[in-house]
Assembly symmetry: C3
Homo-oligomer: 263 residues x 3
């Protein structure tokens, strides 16, 4: 039983996600299909990259991740499939694999990319504006049905990578930034557990406010209080207990965050 | 073929629901998974309780309902699994089972709760802020794969129950309240068919307006008219035909509703 | 392995879509179920008709399409099931099949309609306001499980059809209109490739602006530019590259579009 996940910026109202499932099941009738997100901001490749990296490790070996955020559809941007460790990726060559590829390479797992340059494995007619349906879904379906990656296209060694913002060391700690705002309005930074080993006494400054100390979970403090903690993905996050830090602070992706390590 | 349903307040944009499916399929590769709702209001346990109670009876025997609305994640609130009649529940001990439990007990069906206190059945690493992924999804997957409830934790006899608003008798009928507003803006009250046996001549007052009589369905009256009827769950609802009663009346959950029984 | 697709105007927050899946799986435990859209505008049958017609051809033979946009629920509007070519339709007799039926008939494929008039194939209790759950889901599940269409009801020859807006020829080209606005804010017109065979030099006027020429895809022009092209469904669409033409132009479904064919 193989699994396919879907992530796009298509939204949920127009039927395009359903159509992709129809195509995938045409090639892999037994495939389980999970939506990761179809509410990626339009053309927001970075957001999709972040969600892919933190989601993929929780899927079983052999899962195929189809990610279509594709402002370059129909131009000469390449289309890819890849084996990344024990899982597969299919989508445009737009850098969306960057963070997950780092995770895989840090574990010294196998990585193989192919350029999807064999139209015989796509739908017979290819629209210039919906490769998700006409190229990527057939390829994902074929992988889910057991076809070998190497048969789908020519080897490729230079996938596009995003230049992602890295936290910078300062005399007193770190200069970080907000990289994601979730459904609850929690603010995720690019500072991670690895940057702060064993450190519990922090001061976080962002959007004109100061948050003292680290908590382990929301419920340690009363509703309405701002807290800092490590989220379920290992990133430092700033939250309002039972509320929206984003709405309260007017914070946005890209906003700076100063983290002072107290001794 | 077992079924798992998912209900959360996680929203649909961040990938967290997809991740839970990946974990469930790691334990139960064949499971069918249906989303009930991921747009429960943040921390709104009552709303999830209502939707669980009216949805669960339509699922086949053996279905596992995973409900994660969890402001207390990572604190000392307990985590539960239960057999409720012929179906299963998994989630935090927050009272979300209250109404479905009443439905099951009214039918004198078997009820068994366990405290999920055996970490060997969870993911190896447990985040303090995402038990849905790390505790509840593995448990739901194991139940779907046929593991026995009693093996997952210690027996528990006092699950948390919500104190839900009950309609009150008045000299002329009932004092009720709005307990849910649906996607169409229809207003559901806590007054049910059982409270009004055989009664067809009602006057409903709410938000400064009066609705006379009961209809059987929307299409009996012209678009724009306010009507009262029994909804598909057996609750008395107030609706604007082809419109939104909530938008028109500015009504909210918790608003009072007077129902006068005319003779 | 049979497939069922679901399209409704129910939204995603109230659990009603999940309940329909529970009922379908009660009859067809192995069925794959794909959501096409549950964000159809309330009572907007035309929008559902458009999405059905452009989605259904991408599903495998034998797929059952359940479409419930049903302002007439509980009145004397009929309920239908149909074989349309190699696929099935189930839903109220509201004209939602119109465009897909035209597609099927243009290909001279078999068409059979039945009036769902045999309550023994529904749920035992039928609400007057949720036939999607109580009538259509059991019927869709039975079709997915292999039951014959002809057994589900009496033959019917006059399904309701929508009167859809047709583009009109003018001395200089075509008078068209906007028939759909997608998640990205792209504006789809009712003018199709068939109306403009081999034509590449167009001038499109709508909402007070003029768009010159046709592009093949978005990425041919810089972000922010308005372009006209044929979308993935063969309709002429007007888009803002990496932006929302709908938001920029304040355009709405039904707005007129003049297309001048230049020689």
């Amino acid at each position: 039983m193989s699994i396919v996940t879907l992530m796009t910026d298509f939204g949920l109202k127009d039927g395009n996600v359903g159509v992709m499932k129809g195509v995938i099941w045409s090639f892999a009738p037994q495939a389980q299909i999970a939506d990761l997100s179809h509410l990626i901001g339009p053309q927001n490749i970075r957001e999709a990259a972040l969600i892919l990296a933190r989601s993929a490790p929780y899927f079983p070996s052999g899962t195929v991740h189809l990610v279509v955020v594709d402002p370059g559809v129909g131009t000469n941007r390449r289309q890819l499939a890849a084996r990344l460790g024990e899982q597969y990726f299919v989508g445009p060559d737009n850098g969306v694999v960057t963070q997950y590829l780092e995770w895989v390479q840090a574990r010294r797992l196998t990585v193989d990319f192919v350029h999807l340059d064999r139209p015989q494995f796509w739908l017979p007619e290819v629209s210039q504006v919906f490769h998700g349906r006409d190229i990527f879904s057939p390829v994902a379906g074929r992988l889910a049905a057991g076809m070998q990656l190497a048969d789908l296209g020519s080897p490729l060694s230079d996938p596009h990578r995003l230049a992602l913002p890295q936290p910078q060391r300062t005399p007193f700690g770190w200069q970080a930034e907000i990289i994601h705002i979730d459904h609850f309005g929690n603010l995720a930074t690019n500072l991670r557990l690895e940057h702060l080993p064993g450190i519990e006494n922090l001061t976080v400054r962002l959007a004109g406010v100061t948050v003292q100390g680290l908590v382990r979970t929301f419920g340690e403090r009363p509703p309405g209080e701002l807290v800092a903690l490590f989220g379920s993905t290992g990133n430092l996050i700033v939250c309002e207990v039972n509320g929206s830090a984003a709405a309260r602070l007017g914070a946005r992706v890209g906003d700076p965050v100063q983290v002072q390590v107290n001794t």
